[in-house]
């Protein structure tokens, strides 16, 4: 956790200020008992004198006490202001650091944590560490200060009083520590058991159909009951263990309080009063006892505060560890020191004997992949689930680095570009269309922040999305241009939930089109479209992308039948490469795939129907 303190940054001087102020605060607040003593002393003494008790004198003391209380109060408010300021700035910086770091690391590191865990770390864990800083720091200063100052105050009165404290403290500490040691693991265990109970209840909810279908209600309840009982028993144990703390503190404090008086009187025992001053001192021993008992209480309280600190520590420590885990994660995909910017060609992707293995895997996912795409052509990649198709295209934008071989874009190794530059060249449409909350315009501008309405218009048309987009925010009175502007302002919910699967996909495609990249990569992106839309889209796409390289990954043969080159992947290796007809003849895997999807005669029928549609419908745009 100490490592995280660097986020306090330039505010160190404020921390010092807080330390100083807390010190002063503690010192002053320990002055108050002195005045109680002064008053009681005065009363005791004055009672015997001829003038008697002068209320003016008492008021004098009173006002001083009030003054000190006021200063103490103001000091505390100031301290809190600075303290909270420091800790909220701290939390702010920490959150920023975690967030920017997550943006920098590569996919592999990111997936190690997962979204949920990262979210928890940026919220809960930061909060725990911040609280530790806020309360912990204060307690850490106040506690020893009070302890030391109180002891210092007590000693001059009579060192013998220290003995009481010396007795009380160890007792308190022993009980405190024993309880913490015993209860600590119990509370950790409770957390785990709560997790289990929650898990079982959740499974019962998510799987309610399956549970009922297989008549497993009774069994599920039995497991749940076991977990519930277990959690309950542990909770009882933990709570009962900590139940000793309160009474112990109480007893120690009160007994000590009483003991002070007894010591006071013990000190009086066998005293010889010779002078009037002696007599006075005897009378004042009472007041002393009053003062000391209050100091002793303070000492005990400060120890208890330290105890709480120790309770907070493990949790904050665990959180700090989790945060450090993220901050220490090193990025494995780094930009080169001297990146190359200019290229001679555009849109050429070349795999040379590429082998790829996931960082913790034993077996490579891809083996000796070699192919090349050129602008103006369509390259299709097909293969069964798990064959490695997605991995191939994930390598191009450098989500992962190749293990062996070379991956070149425009003749230059992808590692020699800055990641930003490399990704500028690529328009990627992922399998699951993901939109962001905001407006349609916001989402489209992702492709190119400087795009104007005209460019957006074109992209939407080609993606076959214009029709349904124009239906949003409809206003009959506006002309074409204004209507488009208005339509683009339509709201998009998180993930694009308020649109159907097909609509999301088309918007996702439009987004890539706005970018007008050199290389298009479509990862099974047409699956949610109906056949008419699919055909029209791909034919419009053909024209628009004729200067770029297009790479399509697909499951279905019919999507890719007329690609310029089809790459068949099986178990991470290229099983065949070529055009559809050639592969039908000499690639066994391709034949299997085709046969599992289509009847031979249907292949012909498909061709016919496709021609029909294209001929019949011309360039009509039907959303």
């Amino acid at each position: 956790m100490i490592k995280l303190f660097r986020f306090i940054g330039k505010q160190w001087w404020q921390v010092v200020l807080v330390v100083v102020l807390v010190f002063i605060h503690s010192y002053l607040s320990l002055e108050l008992p002195q005045y109680t003593g002064k008053i009681t002393q005065y009363i005791t003494e004055a009672a015997g004198t001829p003038e008697g008790i002068q209320s003016a004198k008492i008021w004098e003391y009173g006002f001083t006490m009030l003054g000190i209380s006021l200063i103490v109060f103001v000091l505390m408010v100031i301290v809190m202001a600075i303290n909270v300021h420091i800790s909220s700035m701290f939390a702010n910086r920490l959150r920023h650091a975690i967030f920017t770091h997550t943006q920098e690391v590569s996919l592999n590191e990111f997936q190690k944590f997962g979204t949920a865990s990262l979210l928890t770390r940026i919220t809960v864990d930061v909060r725990n560490v911040k609280n530790m800083l806020q309360f912990g720091a204060r307690l850490l200063i106040m506690s020893p200060t009070i302890l030391i100052v109180a002891i210092i105050r007590v000693i001059p009165i009579n060192p013998r009083y220290i003995f009481i404290v010396a007795l009380g403290i160890p007792v308190l500490l022993i009980v405190l520590i024993t309880i913490l040691i015993k209860a600590g693991p119990l509370f950790t265990a409770i957390q785990k058991k709560i997790d289990r109970v929650t898990l079982l209840m959740r499974e019962g909810l998510t799987g309610v159909r399956v549970v009922r279908a297989f008549n497993q209600e009774k069994r599920e309840n039995k497991y749940f009951d076991q977990a519930n009982k277990d959690m309950t028993d542990t909770t009882v144990k933990a709570v009962r263990t900590t139940s000793f703390l309160g009474p112990t503190i109480n007893i120690v404090m009160n007994v000590t309080f009483v003991a002070v008086y007894i010591v006071a009187f013990a000190l009086l025992n066998n005293q010889l009063i010779v002078t009037a001053d002696d007599g006075l001192r005897v009378m004042n021993s009472f007041s002393e006892a009053v003062v000391i008992s209050q100091y002793v209480m303070q000492i005990m309280m400060s120890l208890v505060m330290l105890g709480f600190l120790f309770v907070m520590l493990p949790q904050a420590s665990a959180s700090a560890k989790r945060i450090n885990e993220i901050l220490d994660t090193k990025n494995t995909i780094l930009d080169p020191i001297n990146p190359i910017v200019d290229t001679k060609t555009t849109g050429v992707v070349e795999f040379r004997d590429v082998t790829f293995k996931f960082p913790d895997a034993d077996v490579p996912t891809l083996c000796k992949i070699t192919f090349k795409t050129t602008p103006g052509t369509v390259t299709a990649i097909i293969g069964s689930t798990g064959s490695g198709k997605s991995s191939i295209i994930n390598l191009i934008p450098r989500f992962y680095d190749v293990t062996e071989g070379e991956l070149l874009v425009d003749g230059i190794n992808v590692k020699d570009y800055t990641q930003n530059n490399l990704r500028e060249k690529i328009g990627f449409v992922p399998q699951q269309a993901l939109l962001f909350s905001g407006t349609i315009r916001d989402n489209l501008l992702f492709g190119n922040a400087a795009a104007d309405n005209k460019q957006l218009d074109v992209a939407l048309e080609i993606a076959q999305a214009k029709n349904f987009v124009m239906k949003l925010n409809k206003d009959e009175s506006l002309d074409q241009e204004a209507a488009l502007s208005l339509a683009l302002e339509a709201k998009v919910a998180q993930g694009g939930r308020n649109f159907s699967g097909g609509q999301k996909q088309r918007l996702s495609i439009a987004r890539a089109l706005v970018k007008k990249p050199e290389i298009y990569i479509f990862d099974d992106s047409f699956s949610a479209l109906d056949f008419k839309t699919d055909i029209r889209l791909r034919s419009a796409l053909k024209n628009y992308t004729k200067e770029s390289s297009v790479i399509i990954v697909a499951q279905r043969v019919s999507s890719i039948m007329d690609a310029d080159q089809i790459i068949v992947i099986d178990d991470g290796k290229i099983a065949g490469i070529g055009k559809h007809n050639k592969l039908l003849e000499d690639c066994a895997v391709y034949q299997e795939i085709v046969n599992s999807q289509l009847d031979p005669e249907e292949v012909e029928k498909t061709k016919l129907m496709r021609q029909q549609i294209l001929a019949g419908e011309g360039g009509n745009n039907n959303g």
């Binding site: 009363i43 909270v84 010889l272 009378m283 990641q419 949610a528």
Partner: protein, 630 residues
Amino acid sequence: MARMGGGPGARMGDKRFNKPENIKQTAKRLTKQFSNQYGRIIFIIVILVFAAALEIAAPVFLRDLMKRISSDMAALQGGASGTYFNFASQSGGILITVIWETLLKDFGFIIALYLVSAFVKWLANWIIAKISAYFAYEMGKSFKEKLDRLPLAFFDRQTFGEILSRGTNDINTISNSLSEVLFQIVSGVSLLIGSLIAMFVTQWELAFVAIGTIPVSLLLAGFIAYFSQKQFIKFQYKHGNLEGHVEETLSGYNVIKLFNQEEHVTKVFDDINDDLKRTEFLAVWISSVVHPSLRFISNVGYVVVCVVGGIVADVPTIIAFLMFLNLFSQPIHNIGSIVSTIQTTMAAAERIFTVLDEKEMSPDAVNAITSEVGVHGDFSFENVSFSYSPDQPLIQNMNLHVNQGDTIAIVGPTGAGKTTIVNLIMRFYEIDEGAIKLDGIDIREYSRGTLRSAIGMVLQDTWLFHGSIKNNIKYGRTDATDEEIYEASKAAHADHFIQTLPGGYDFILNEDGTNISQGQRQLLTIARAMISQPKILILDEATSSVDTRTETLVQKAMDRLMEGKTSFVIAHRLSTIKNAKTIIVMKKGQIVETGSHQELLALNGFYAELYNAQFMGSNPMESLEIPAES
């Protein structure tokens, strides 16, 4: 998130400001839940009052003791004896000796008061620990059992998170706050009243000082709480914003990287983060002022007691009063937190009771059929009507007959009603009109358990639980032998991939089974259904996530399984249902066409259109422009 406006999903993290609807009723009902513990609870209340009385008595006795000591001291000059001290004249002065027996006896009594009080409070804590923990246990149990009796429609109405939070968080909230509320209220009230009485009896002038601090403290605390509350609500809202942005950014990690949006996304984050920091500061600082303020007021009271006491009374009274003040101010300082605890507890209780009050499914018929013997699989739907919600009619007047052993395929676009048929056969929902008969007997005359164990179901939703692969497969039939498990697994083409996992069949699947792929999950659910040896099969998109090659292989096993059994197959891949005896084509809840594959193609209607579209490389079944459920 692209340009953050109001922010998605502003969440009220810990529902701090959830005001319950009807506190009185809920409180009454909540107390009833403890009816079997009334004895213990009353006992606890009594002893807590007793402990409070002792804590108040102590200063009273202490004061008396000190008065006597004071008077002893005053008698110093006379060289006499007192209660606790002997003053003996000696050459040159007066010798003081302490009469230890009396002193220690009287002090001892006071210590005894504290010891007993501490012990009693500990005892109360000890007892309460069990009561509150077992309350949570019972509530959790009732809750879970109640869920089993609720119709599926209930689960459709809300998110799992909602229900889960009630069964876990809300129950925890109540059990945690139980002891706190009981203690604070009982002790607090006792101490407050007791110390007030003691103060008045001891020195009424000073008592007024103490009372004077109450309204001031309350006003101050209330004032501060009002301001800080506003800030806290703002803080929760903004924190929700932050979480929403972070969650969305992290989920869309890929897309952000692909479109070089890292910088933009970070800037938005920074804006929210900085905004949050300001609110955070205000909220925390303002509320942190409460404690020092209350301390200050206590100190003022303290000072006034000292001063007025000095004028009006004597030192022992001052000391006793300071102790009274201490006892008195504890409950006042805690009022704020008690009120909010009660509010949260009541809100939580209300949420739980809402679930417990839900209408349950009708129980099984009195003479329900409980044996699977004689179930053949002859189905008929007679004038069946059903809809999930009354204003959206789905299935209307449907008639269908299925012979034993037939394979029936159901096709149609999303939302046509295919899965609904399955839901009705399994009696997951009750039909509105008509009857579904199995072997001529209305399915409502079978016990649900019997009906469901006769039907083997493979769903599109591949639910697996946290446990070993073996146990997950065994879920189909708990008395299956290992041999049978391996057989079913091989037939489902799952055996191979299971062997490649560390631990093989003992490999532990995590929650939702996410440590294997979707396709692999589906194979496991198929194995699970296979092992249950059903008489009737329902396959709903059973292989939709499996690639076509593997599907062909699994199909063979499925065909063997379906042999001779009545099977209902729902599939999007028309290639898998071509060989069904009868294909039912559904559209918007109605059966529009029936027949074999060849017959339907010849009709050249809806089915033909769907079929042909399939081979264009797209899926017409998901083409309807219906916005997804939000």
